[in-house]
């Protein structure tokens, strides 16, 4: 299929969550790898930048960005309450390009930018499941949701580890 783009995303290693705040902590020594078929890679540095940018946007989309509407009005129309990932939310990333030749695109290239975003939230959800054992099925996976899920899990099995 000529249009298949996302070849694979590993998930970032989440070492655990902060006990009090529920915030997920990224491992500092394991890279978040993203592998993409973007056709012919014309400018490798710019292409890497597109993928890395999409992954960090994925951190926002997966973990923090939540546009709240009340009666049709946006309740949090600023960057204080609509949280974007800052440089502190960055985790080390790596990119693998699986080159192909798209006969329709210029010089065999495909578009790259948003496609890399698609797989990032599921990858994060898996990372949090692996770190905590709780499966969150709605986005964004906020610290509050993680804490609530951990509490619920603890109530179900008081002897088990939370």
């Amino acid at each position: 299929m000529a249009d298949l783009r996302v070849v694979g995303h590993s998930h970032p290693r989440v070492d655990g969550v902060e006990k009090v705040t529920g915030a997920a902590r990224f491992s500092t020594d394991i890279k978040w790898m993203a592998s993409h078929d973007i056709g012919k890679v014309i400018n490798p540095i710019a292409a890497e930048g597109q993928i890395e940018g999409a992954l960090v946007q994925g951190v926002g989309y997966g973990l923090m960005e939540d546009m709240i509407r009340v009666d049709g009005r946006t309740f949090n129309p600023n960057f204080l309450n609509y949280r974007l990932p800052t440089v502190q939310d960055h985790c080390r990333m790596g990119t693998i390009f699986v080159e192909s030749n798209d006969p329709v695109g210029p010089y065999g290239a495909k578009g790259v930018a948003e496609p890399a975003l698609v797989a990032s939230a599921p990858a994060l959800a898996n990372a949090i499941y692996h770190a905590t054992g709780v499966r969150i099925t709605s986005l964004p996976i906020t610290p509050q949701k993680i804490l609530a899920a951990l509490d619920a899990k603890e109530k179900r099995s008081p002897d088990g580890e939370a």
Partner: protein
Amino acid sequence: MARRKRRAGHSDLVVDEKKALHRIRLTINGEELELAFSPRRTLLEVLRDDLDLIGAKEGCDGGECGACTVLIEDRPYLACLTLAATLRGKRILTIEGLAGNGSLHPLQSAFLTKGAVQCGYCTPGLILSAKALLDRNVAPTEEEVKKALVGNLCRCTGYQKIIDAVLEAARLLQAESTGNR
């Protein structure tokens, strides 16, 4: 022409514009200037509208995004939250004053070679925040770089290449200073 001050709501308040202008001397990018402006104006407005120094960007205009970061006495400040009238005698550096003698500052060349620029809107603020860091810490760790840049939001790059560029610039600056000895 002077108009009488009327007692009315704030939006209706008319004052003598000429008398109300604030006059100060300050240094911007190494050039000593005497400026006159309304005391309610921010440094960002004076830079962009009066002086045509449009490197500092207006992102959120509320101190959230860091796109308007400039250096006042070598420390990073948000120009959108700084009243220009408070800067009497101060030394200000914007991105326009960073490159000297026709050559880029090591931070600028590192941002280029590492690919740390995508749309470029956050770049002036990030470079100046990074310069403030490198001025006081010649060999920062990755964690220190992250701490210094946390007030500058970037939506495009994913920050990785920015961190790499700042670390590279630190190496370039160190090589420069040891080479000069």
